[in-house]
Symmetry: C2
Subunit: 204 residues, 2 copies
């Protein structure tokens, strides 16, 4: 039976542990790295090994930072009374790139998914409650919580759950607008989106 | 401006150097690795750094091996008079998996592509010539050269070029059969493939 050298076999097996990488893609990547003369495999390998060096979760919002508190939470120019709750750090990156939000974030690190055994205690929901209580105690009242979870079934369920939990605080709780995406073609848009767009229509 | 920790930014930049990996995929992979608790990033990093350890090119066929000569070239049970010329090591793997070929291989390590500046001297074409001459001198005459390059424009051009070069040796030179792939539906097959399948038809 023909077999590749062990180190290459190991690499192909490791690459297959990445999401969306099957045996074919893994082999192709491994051979690409083998051919590339610029020691790409070493620089990528080092970047992987060092990826967690100096990376902490912000004590306030649980975003990523190299210190204890992230740049957003420690920025005095941000509106401290607006709190945007997102599923992942990448959602913070996406919203920051729009420059449309000047408040603070709270990263849940996932969404409720009972079938996968992910309950409220696996997310930063208690930490969100504590944060709101602490802020209120400090006199910096939060005026609005934006539940910016994904528009998926799980994201909606997570947002619903959190809105129930936050009821006692009597805060304004909002959700991102639902409607037709920019460049969207009515003909090809699903019924639910169109229905939501109709319901949420605004004046011209 | 919001930015991710440096080590994560570095990793995302390195991942983008892989073929088919854009900024979005790179970020998603980086965050997947960050979340995965099993130190996947370290084992993948080590596999990458060590990938070239103990990996040599076979002195005979330029396939991969952990020794000087690969297992196929040093296997006495293989038919030494049949030589299958392929573009890449992965093609050897693919043909070996069919168990339909018992001869030897010759890996070109690429295909002719003048626009990318890849000429005959960048491939193992001279080595192929020398190998044929050496074998003929040793009395182990090669009876057939199978030009198993890809069925792409570049693969065809490379095969044509090599067949011209090998003319003086008066060897039987063949090409893999072209036709309808297994499970292929006539209705959806391109004209050229159908034409080749018609030309190459065999008796029932």
């Amino acid at each position: 039976m023909f077999s590749l050298p062990k180190s290459i076999e190991t690499l192909i097996a490791e690459l297959q542990r990445l999401p969306g990488v099957g045996p074919k893609t893994a082999s192709r990547l491994a051979f690409y790295l083998l051919r590339s003369g610029q020691n790409l495999h070493e620089s990528l390998g080092n970047a992987l090994i060092n990826m967690k060096n100096g990376v902490n979760y912000c004590q306030e919002c649980f975003g990523l930072t190299e210190n204890n508190v992230c740049l957003i939470c420690s920025d005095n120019l941000r509106q401290k009374n607006l709190l945007c709750v997102v599923e992942e750090v990448l959602d913070v990156v996406a919203i920051e790139e729009t420059h449309a939000f000047k408040g603070l974030y709270h990263v849940l690190h996932g969404f409720l998914s009972p079938l996968d055994g992910i309950g409220p205690s696996d997310l930063k929901i208690n930490e969100l409650k504590e944060r709101i209580m602490k802020k209120n105690a400090d006199g910096e009242n939060i005026s609005e919580i934006i539940l910016a979870t994904n528009a998926s079934v799980e994201g909606e369920a997570t947002a619903n759950f959190i809105s129930q939990i936050l009821k006692p605080f009597n805060l304004k709780t909002t959700r991102l607008a639902r409607g037709i995406p920019t460049g969207g073609n009515l003909e090809y848009i699903d019924k639910l989106t169109l229905q939501r767009a109709m319901e949420g229509r605004g004046e011209f």
